[in-house]
């Protein structure tokens, strides 16, 4: 029962052809990794005492916990390779700031920590066991939001969850990592989904995939087969189909109230990669130390879908992919519509890094903006049914009360408005400024 899709949205050039047929390649172990203490939404990790005491020179093994925080909304980080700690201190972070990180020089042996062992059969695990495993494995939303996964698996008692949705929409152009994961790791996705359904006592599982990935749809459908309580849902290809609220509406017809979380309507959403990570944590006992990402864009010489250890430097990955073209204008971590432009490649892969894009003037459209002609195309494409041009104008004029009245805080910054604007006005960018300012004033 495919529900009607959300209102609005855009159809950018998807540019997925150069990597969608490339199997995931495991990148050779990096020489060194940089592990930031914050790779998730929530409280940052504190370095564990055993590493802190020895400091530089401390020997670590793969999967050994490096940092943690007692706060509920947080996720520990682990050593992605075995080797020696060579530095502890602030390091470039994809978010554009410097954050405390542990640098590990590889010993090339890839020795796993002794405590890594399978957790047992899913049937023998209680919901609490599953939550604990997911938390200890440091699993966060791998689609890019990096919200700690165990938090979503621990809804308050008055908010029962009946549906778990696995997000395989991958609506961002260029990215094909989730597509490949669905083709190559479908069993693990389904196992992870079952584990989540068990943890939440949910009766239904849905796997949502955009219909521009017919092979992934087929693969998921084949493996779901006769499972009674799991179904695969084909979604119309339209950005931002993979946005939480849009995905929930398209697969179940339920509308998440403005300002609320999906659990309000009995739903928990997880990315396909997150499902795989949960499976690994249960079946092999492995914490989250690696992920699949897409390296692509016109500036990349050899595009690829790579499985890399977390903390691998982007510069090392670009080198592995044959370097980047001199015409590269933007180096983006994530997708082209919501990703973060980087000033250089000396930045590590973190848990939420779904792609690395080298965009040239073939991909990036640079233009001066001109006055708004009130064509209202931004209003037509906004998936949240907002008036981007009016909010942006209010923010530009410093009238943040009006911006808030126009529901600025409901904007989730998908960027459809800026994408479609014929006057090339940085609409979502102004709205971001407006949101920041509104929040600042609220917190005063």
């Amino acid at each position: 029962m495919a529900e009607s899709s959300f209102q609005g949205g855009v159809h950018p050039d998807y540019n997925k052809e150069s990597t969608s047929t490339l199997a995931i390649v495991e990148m050779p172990l990096p020489q060194k990794v940089v592990v930031p203490m914050q790779q998730h939404i929530g409280a940052p990790c504190e370095l564990l005492a055993d590493v802190e005491e020895i400091g530089k020179g401390c020997e670590v093994k793969v999967g050994q916990k490096l940092g943690d925080n007692k706060g509920f909304v947080s996720a520990p980080v682990h050593a992605p390779i075995s080797g020696t700690v060579t530095d502890i201190g602030p390091y470039n972070h994809p978010l554009g700031m410097k954050i405390k990180a542990v640098t590990i020089e590889s010993d090339g042996r890839d020795e796993w920590a002794e405590n890594i062992k399978p957790a047992g059969q899913l049937e023998d695990l209680s919901p609490d066991d599953i939550r604990k495993i997911v938390r200890e494995a440091g699993i966060v939303g791998l689609g890019g939001a990096t919200f700690p996964a165990h938090v979503k698996l621990s809804p308050p008692e008055d908010k029962p969850i009946d549906v778990v949705i696995i997000n395989g929409a991958e609506c961002e152009p260029y990215l094909t990592a989730d597509h490949r994961v669905m083709l190559e790791k479908a069993e693990e996705i389904i196992f992870g989904l079952k584990a989540m359904m068990k943890a939440l006592n949910a009766s239904e599982g849905i796997i949502g995939v955009e219909d521009n990935k017919p092979d992934a749809l087929k693969q998921m459908e084949r493996l779901v087969g006769e499972e009674e309580n799991i179904r695969v849902c084909s979604l119309p290809t339209k950005y931002p189909q993979g946005a939480e609220k849009m995905l929930i509406y398209a697969t179940t017809g339920r509308v998440v109230p403005a300002g609320d979380l999906p659990m309000e309507v009995g739903i928990v959403n997880h990315n396909v990669g997150t499902a795989v990570a949960i499976t690994r944590a249960i079946k092999e006992g492995k914490p989250l130390v690696e992920r699949v990402l897409t390296v692509t864009g016109s500036g990349i010489n050899k595009p690829a879908n790579l499985q890399v250890r977390l903390g691998t430097l982007v510069s090392e990955i670009l080198e592995y992919c044959g370097g980047i073209s001199d015409y590269t204008l933007k180096l983006v971590i994530g997708g082209p519509l919501m990703g973060l432009a980087q000033p250089n490649a000396d930045v590590p892969v973190i848990k939420g890094t779904s792609g690395i894009l080298a965009l040239t003037d073939e991909d990036v459209y640079l233009a001066e903006s001109s006055p708004c002609i009130r064509c209202a195309k931004c209003v037509a494409v906004c998936p949240m049914n907002l008036m981007p041009t009016s909010i942006a104008q209010a923010a530009e004029h410093g009238d943040f009360k009006r911006a808030e009245k126009l529901y600025a805080l409901d904007c989730f910054e998908c960027g459809c408005c800026s994408f479609i604007c014929p006057s090339k006005i940085p609409l979502v960018q102004w709205i971001r400024i407006g949101k920041n300012e509104i929040m600042k004033r609220k917190n005063k």
Partner: protein, 323 residues
């Protein structure tokens, strides 16, 4: 490894659609082509000259005002000039055409700050100024009757009243004639067919919202049906008469859908269209002027900000789920 030292760091999104103000304006010009072609087929070389003078003088005036060498620029001046030309009678003197274009660009648009800042539809401002300044050339019995495919005829020799000014004459034209446009009237307003072709294409391209022409034309039809007195056959055909006669089609499809001067909200656009239809019919049926499209749209332009303010759409999820 070489990393370009001039990487651009800016906040997302990093890709943009290729559509620009210029490409949208070119699409509008293309949409107006059938109507312009019909104008030339019906009214001959005078129509062609009027169109050329209006478009070129609009572009020139704008370029001079902005001190820019790029004559075509974003294309909006060409659209204004063409729209103005299509609302003029074929027999107007050529200096009047240029005066209309200059008024449209300067008073209609540039004094407000240029594209995006004007309150009133520039082409209609130009037309309104011509109507009140040189009424003898713009109203009365000066409307040339068309001579299809007679390119060289001098329109000035065959004039008459429009069907709106002289209802007793209207009944001599059949509905299909009204629809195709073989009647006296402004250059581009007579052929509903040609205008519809352009309108359908603009809706298909996503440039205009069907709500404005839908609300406008629907209201004119209903008002014509209810209050038109059934003089044109029966009440139903009288409703259609009011839709196809005069400037309703060009106004609804091309003037009331002008981006800058009309609401941006979906509900606001419907209200705007209905308002235009209502005022048009109030003027036609109970006013002293035979036609009311120009002033209907200009009046609605004035209340556009108010309409927008009262029709802010509810955000997704703004209504609590009932289940």
């Amino acid at each position: 490894m070489v990393i370009n030292e001039k990487l651009i760091v800016s906040s997302s999104p990093h890709i943009r659609s290729v559509e620009s103000v210029q490409s949208v304006m070119i699409d509008v010009l293309i949409a107006l082509f059938p109507a312009a072609l019909m104008a030339v087929l019906l009214f001959g070389y005078r129509a062609l000259m009027t169109i050329i003078i209006a478009v070129v003088s609009a572009m020139l005036v704008e370029a001079v005002w902005r001190r820019k060498r790029d004559i075509f620029s974003d294309g909006s001046a060409a659209v204004t000039g063409l729209l103005l030309a299509l609302t003029l009678p074929a027999a107007v003197p050529w200096w009047l055409v240029a005066a209309g274009s200059a008024s449209a660009i300067i008073i209609g648009k540039q004094v407000f700050g240029g594209i995006g800042y004007n309150i009133f539809n520039p082409a209609l401002v130009g037309r309104a100024i011509l109507v009140v300044s040189w009424g003898a050339h713009m109203a009365g019995d000066i409307w040339p009757s068309p001579q299809p495919f007679a390119f060289g005829f001098d329109v000035a020799t065959v004039t008459g009243a429009t069907v709106l000014a002289a209802p007793e004459m209207a009944v001599t034209f059949s509905l299909p004639e009204l629809f195709i446009g073989n009647i006296a009237g402004s250059l581009g307003e007579t052929s509903a067919l040609a205008l519809l072709i352009g309108g359908v294409w603009l809706v298909y391209k996503g440039h205009i919202d069907y709500r404005i022409p839908g609300g406008f034309i629907g209201t004119v039809f209903v008002m014509g049906l209810l209050f038109g007195g059934g003089f044109y056959g029966n009440i139903f055909t009288t409703g259609l008469f009011h839709v196809f006669a005069g400037g309703v089609m060009i106004g609804a499809i091309f003037m009331a859908t002008d981006f800058v001067t009309t609401p941006v909200t979906p509900a606001g656009r419907l209200i705007f269209g209905i308002g235009c239809g209502l005022i048009t019919m109030l003027i036609r049926l109970w006013g002293t002027l035979p036609e009311g499209v120009t002033f209907a749209i200009l009046l609605m332009n004035a209340v556009t900000p108010i309409i927008d303010n009262f029709t802010i759409p509810r955000q997704f999820g703004g209504v609590r789920k009932s289940a």
